[in-house]
C-alpha cells in the first residue's frame, strides 16, 4: 500500500516529465479506440454493467450538446406573448402574488367537466378482512372472538369517544391515528401539511370508510383554508378532497394529492 502522497510530492519537487502533456493528449486520443475495442470484447455481467454506464453517459452527452445548441441558436422571443396577463398594478408584485395564488378556477372547472371521479390512483390493491383486522379474544376464558382491532392507520374525528368495552366491536389503536396529511397541489407543485377533516371514501369497502381507515387510494377531505382558495361565489373554500398516494401503514405518514 502506498504511504502518503508520494506521487504528488515528487511532482511538486521535480516537476512532471517533459513529454507529459503530449503523452496525455495521445492517450486521450487513443481512448475512444480502446473503449470501442473493450466494448466489443466484453461479455457477461461486465458487458451489462458497461453498457448501462455507457448508455447513461451518452444520454448526458446528448443533453449537453442540445443545451449548447439552444444557447447558440438565436431566440425568437419578441413575438411570443407570455401567458398569465396581469394588470399594471400587479406587475411588480408578481413575486409575492404567484407564490400564494392557487385559484386557477378555470382549469379546475374544465377538469370537473372531464369527469368528476377522475382520480390520480384509479385502481387499488384489495385488502382482505383478515389483513385489515386482528381478532381480539374476549371473555373470561378468551373463548369469544367477536372483537376486531384495525391494523391500518385510521382517522378518528375530534369528538369521538370510545364505547364501553362490552359494545366496542372495532378498536382503532391510538398509535395508528392520524390528524394531518402532506397534501401536494398538482398545479403548484407545492406541498402543504393540512389537517384532515374526514374520510370521504375508502375504495375497499363502505365499512372501511365508516371506520375512517386510511389506505392507499382513499379519498380524504382536507382543510385548505390556509391556501386561500375561493369559489366563484366569492366564498373562501376550506374543505377539498385529496387522494392518498402512499401506503400509510408502511410509511408512517400520509401523502396525498389534491383533487382539482
Amino acid at each position: 500500500m502506498p504511504q502518503n502522497e508520494y506521487i504528488e510530492e515528487s511532482i511538486r519537487r521535480h516537476g512532471r516529465r517533459l513529454d507529459h502533456d503530449e503523452r496525455k493528449r495521445k492517450k486521450e486520443a487513443r481512448k475512444v479506440h480502446k473503449d470501442a475495442a473493450f466494448a466489443q470484447k466484453v461479455h457477461g455481467l461486465k458487458a451489462k454493467l458497461y453498457n448501462k454506464k455507457r448508455h447513461a453517459e451518452k444520454i448526458q452527452m446528448k443533453k449537453t450538446i442540445k443545451m449548447h445548441d439552444e444557447k447558440n441558436a438565436k431566440q425568437k422571443t419578441d413575438d411570443v406573448v407570455p401567458e398569465g396577463a396581469v394588470p399594471a398594478y400587479l406587475l411588480d408584485r408578481e413575486g409575492q402574488q404567484r407564490a400564494k395564488v392557487l385559484s386557477n378556477m378555470l382549469k379546475q372547472k374544465r377538469k370537473e367537466k372531464a369527469g368528476k371521479w377522475n382520480v390520480p390512483l384509479p385502481k387499488v390493491r384489495g385488502i382482505a378482512e383478515d389483513e385489515m383486522f386482528k381478532v381480539v379474544k374476549t371473555g373470561k376464558s378468551k373463548s369469544k372472538s367477536w372483537k376486531r382491532m384495525v391494523t391500518k392507520p385510521t382517522f378518528v374525528g375530534d369528538g369521538f369517544t370510545r364505547k364501553p368495552p362490552k359494545y366496542e366491536r372495532f378498536i382503532r389503536p391510538m398509535a395508528l391515528r392520524y390528524k394531518k396529511a402532506n397534501v401536494t397541489h398538482p398545479e403548484l407543485k407545492a406541498t402543504f401539511q393540512l389537517p384532515i377533516i374526514g374520510v370521504k371514501k375508502n375504495p375497499q369497502s363502505p365499512m372501511y370508510t365508516q371506520l375512517g381507515v386510511l389506505t392507499k387510494g382513499t379519498i380524504i377531505e382536507v382543510n385548505v383554508a390556509e391556501l386561500g382558495l375561493v369559489t366563484t361565489g366569492g366564498k373562501v373554500l376550506w374543505g377539498k378532497y385529496a387522494q392518498i398516494t402512499n401506503s400509510p401503514e408502511n410509511d408512517g405518514c400520509i401523502n396525498a394529492l389534491l383533487l382539482v
Binding site: V81, A85, P87, Y89, L106, K109, T231
Partner: protein, 478 residues
C-alpha cells in the same frame, strides 16, 4: 310615534335651537327653534324654502359630521349625547339630482378575449365601451346590443391601460410592448403608427381635460422606465419628456389646473407644469406610491358631458360647459389630491397651496392599491389588499367607515355618478355594491370565475362593466 309617547307622558315635544350652515361654512337663515323629532325630509323642505330654490333639491344633513338619517332626536340627541339646550349647527350638503339605481344582475357575459381582461373603460359620455386584454387586443363593444363591435389588433404584448379622449373620438391604449397606439372607435382602425419612445411598459395614461384644451390632442403616458411623456396625438410626436423620477412611475393624472401629477415607486409625487418643468415634489410616503385621485376626477373624466346627455355644440361650447362643471365640482376649496401607497397609508394633499399633507390616512393593514374620490368630492374610498374598503372624509381625511365583506384582496373601487353607492372589485371573484347611507353591503355580484381585475361604472350610471382573469367581460345592469 315618539311624539305621542311624550304627549302621553305629559310633556311637550322637545324643541331645539338650530342653525343651518352650508358645507363651505356660510350660515343660511336665522337660528330656528325646531321640534326635536324633525325628519331629514322635513329639514330638506325647510332648506329649499330658505334657499328659494325653484325646484326641490335633495339634501343631506350633518351635525358634528354625523348624518341625520331618520330624525334629529334619534340620530343626534340620543345617539351623539348632544343636549337639546345648545344651538345645533346643521350642515346641509346638496346631493345629486339624479339617482343611480344599483346594478343587480349580469345582463351579458361578453366572451372574445383569449387572455385576462386588464382594463375596461366607458367613454366620457357613457355611450361606448372598450376593453384591453392580455391577448394583445383592444376590443370595442356595442353597448346597445351588447355585442362585440371591433377588435383592434396591433399591440405585440399585453394591453395594460386604455383611455378615452375627453371628446370620445380617440381611444388610446398603452401596452407592455412599450408603445401607445391610438384607435378610432367608429371604425376600429388604428390611427397612424404607434407612438414609440418609452423604454419599458406603459403603466398609465391621461388626457388633458376639456376645459383647458377642448381639442383633446394631448396625452400623457407614464412608464415603468421612470419617465412620463406627453404626446401630441394630432402631430403624432412626443412634445416633451418628464424625467425626474428615479423609479417606475405608477400613475399619471392631468389635473384640472393644467398641471401633470405623477406618482412613482421612488416614494414621491411630482407635479409638473404644462410646459414640462417641475413645479413641486410631494414627499412623505415611506414606500411606493401606487395611485392618485383628485376630488374633481369625475368631472375631469366626463368633461363637457353631464347627466342630461346633451352633446356640446363645438369646441368652445365644450370648453365653457366643462369649465362650468369643473368650477362647480371644485367649489370654493382647492382641488384636493389623495395618494395611496405601499406603506399602507394614504396622504391627503392640497398640492397647490402646500407641500405638506392635509392629513395622513392610516388604518389599512396592507398595501393600498386604489383610491377614488366620490363624484361630489366629499368622500374618499380606498381599496386595499387587506380585504377591506375604507371610507374617509374627502375634506379632512377623517376615517368614516370600514366596509368589510370581501374575502380576498380588493383591487379596484368605483363610484356611482350620484355618490350614493360604491362598487368594489376583488380577487375573490366578486363585485360588491355598498350603500353609502347605511355604510353596509347592498348587493353582491358573483359571476366571474376568477379574479376581477378591473371595473368601471358608466358616467351615466346605467351600467357597469367588469373584466378579469376569467377572460370574460361582464356588463351589469339594474
Amino acid at each position: 310615534m315618539s311624539q305621542s309617547e311624550q304627549v302621553a307622558a305629559g310633556s311637550e315635544p322637545k324643541l331645539i335651537l338650530a342653525q343651518f350652515q352650508s358645507a363651505d361654512g356660510d350660515r343660511t337663515g336665522p337660528p330656528l327653534s325646531l321640534p326635536a323629532d324633525i325628519t331629514a325630509e322635513q329639514l330638506s323642505i325647510l332648506i329649499n324654502k330658505f334657499l328659494e330654490n325653484e325646484e326641490t333639491h335633495p339634501y343631506s344633513f350633518y351635525v358634528d359630521e354625523k348624518e341625520v338619517v331618520s330624525t334629529i332626536q334619534k340620530d343626534i340627541i340620543e345617539g351623539g349625547q348632544r343636549s337639546a339646550e345648545e344651538t345645533l349647527v346643521i350642515v346641509y350638503r346638496p346631493q345629486a339630482f339624479f339617482k343611480v339605481r344599483a346594478v343587480t344582475r349580469c345582463s351579458s357575459s361578453l366572451t372574445g378575449h383569449t387572455e385576462a381582461v386588464l382594463s375596461v373603460s366607458f367613454s366620457p359620455d357613457g355611450s361606448q365601451l372598450a376593453s384591453g386584454s392580455g391577448d394583445t387586443t383592444v376590443r370595442i363593444w356595442d353597448l346597445n346590443t351588447e355585442t362585440p363591435r371591433f377588435t383592434c389588433k396591433g399591440h405585440k404584448n399585453w394591453v395594460l391601460s386604455i383611455a378615452w379622449s375627453p371628446d370620445g373620438k380617440v381611444l388610446a391604449s398603452g401596452s407592455m410592448d412599450n408603445t401607445i397606439r391610438l384607435w378610432d372607435p367608429q371604425t376600429g382602425k388604428e390611427i397612424g403608427s404607434p407612438l414609440n419612445g418609452h423604454r419599458k411598459w406603459i403603466t398609465s395614461l391621461a388626457w388633458e381635460p376639456t376645459h383647458i384644451n377642448p381639442k383633446a390632442n394631448r396625452l400623457a403616458s407614464s412608464s415603468k422606465d421612470g419617465t412620463v411623456r406627453v404626446w401630441d396625438t394630432k402631430l403624432r410626436r412626443c412634445i416633451f419628456t418628464l424625467a425626474g423620477h428615479t423609479a417606475a412611475v405608477t400613475c399619471v393624472k392631468w389635473g384640472g389646473d393644467g398641471r401633470i401629477y405623477t406618482s412613482s415607486q421612488d416614494k414621491t409625487i411630482k407635479i409638473w407644469n404644462a410646459d414640462g418643468s417641475l413645479y413641486k415634489t410631494l414627499s412623505g410616503h415611506a414606500h411606493w406610491v401606487n395611485t392618485l385621485a383628485f376630488s374633481t376626477d369625475y368631472v375631469l373624466r366626463t368633461g363637457a358631458y353631464d347627466h342630461t346627455g346633451a352633446e356640446p355644440a363645438g369646441e368652445a361650447d365644450a370648453r365653457t360647459k366643462a369649465l362650468k362643471r369643473y368650477n362647480e365640482a371644485k367649489g370654493k376649496g382647492p382641488e384636493r389630491l389623495v395618494s395611496g401607497s405601499d406603506d399602507f397609508t394614504m396622504f391627503l394633499w392640497d398640492p397647490l397651496n402646500s407641500s405638506k399633507p392635509i392629513a395622513r390616512l392610516t388604518g389599512h393593514q396592507k398595501v393600498v392599491n386604489h383610491v377614488s374620490f366620490s363624484p361630489d368630492g366629499r368622500l374618499i374610498a380606498s381599496a386595499s389588499f387587506d380585504n377591506s374598503v375604507k371610507l374617509w372624509d374627502g375634506k379632512t381625511g377623517k376615517f368614516i367607515a370600514s366596509l368589510r365583506g370581501h374575502v380576498a384582496a380588493v383591487y379596484q373601487v368605483c363610484w356611482s355618478a350620484d355618490s350614493r353607492m360604491l362598487l368594489s372589485a376583488s380577487k375573490d371573484s366578486t363585485l360588491k355594491v355598498w350603500d353609502l347611507r347605511t355604510k353596509k353591503l347592498k348587493l353582491e355580484l358573483p359571476g366571474h370565475a376568477d379574479e376581477v381585475f378591473t371595473v368601471d361604472w358608466s358616467p351615466g350610471g346605467d351600467r357597469v362593466a367588469s373584466g378579469g382573469k376569467d377572460r370574460v367581460l361582464k356588463i351589469w345592469k339594474h
